[in-house]
Symmetry: C2
């Protein structure tokens, strides 16, 4: 059976940090933010709690190619992300192309899950780029 989970200050801090974050966080980011709430917090505790919270389905991993997993609240439900290659910020996207992906697989395949990651320029960076382009011409 699953062990009884205790409410430690460390775990509470880690959860608070993730609840108040507007984007998927890296373990190191969670550590830095949670250390402001519980000084002396160690990285091993962050990893242990992340893993527990993922198993409990309270957190969901968010993976960008070639980078460590980030984590966000599972309660946000199904959505995808946009990663700005200029500023590195990650944005939640509202829509989905559920129906479209069904048509991508061969006959007989059964899709249970799909991940979509879009990348490019967010509005702010796109404007900045256009501005610097026109300044140079």
């Amino acid at each position: 059976m699953a062990a009884i989970v205790r409410n430690t200050r460390q775990r509470a801090a880690i959860r608070k940090v993730l609840e108040e974050s507007g984007y998927p966080m890296l373990p190191e980011e969670i550590l830095a933010a949670a250390q402001r709430l519980v000084q002396g917090l160690g990285i091993a505790t962050v990893y242990r709690n992340i893993n527990t919270l993922v198993e409990e389905r309270w957190l969901t991993p968010v993976d960008l190619p070639g980078q460590s997993s980030r984590y966000e609240l599972a309660s946000k439900g199904h959505h995808h992300h946009f990663c700005c290659t200029n500023c590195g910020r990650i944005f939640d996207l509202p829509g989905c192309v559920e129906g479209g992906v069904r048509r991508m697989v061969p006959r007989g395949f059964h899709i249970t899950h799909h991940d979509i990651l879009l990348s490019g320029f967010c509005d702010t960076c796109r404007r900045a780029k256009q501005k610097s382009l026109s300044a140079h011409n």
Copy 2:
């Protein structure tokens, strides 16, 4: 300037292995296969050549959540993948939902790249699952 690239037996073996592979390969898989062509080949050489070949755009990384990067020929062009959660095999998918993803981003965002990963049961595993289900009922 970029240094002149030499055609070593090791590099040739690594390229041959990737050219003849039907799926995106892990560094360890590339090592194992290439060691059959060049005995004594070391993992460091595999990593060094992978990195060079990616820079040369001869290889493209393929990333599955929480796993090391795999690599496939860049010449295969734009496509996506299906990962069977049962047998672990990775399949190339022909189609795309290019148009669909454009509608997912907020006004002002500019998409330069997109990744789609579908997962579930491939035809073989779907049939096996159905078979075992009916056998138990």
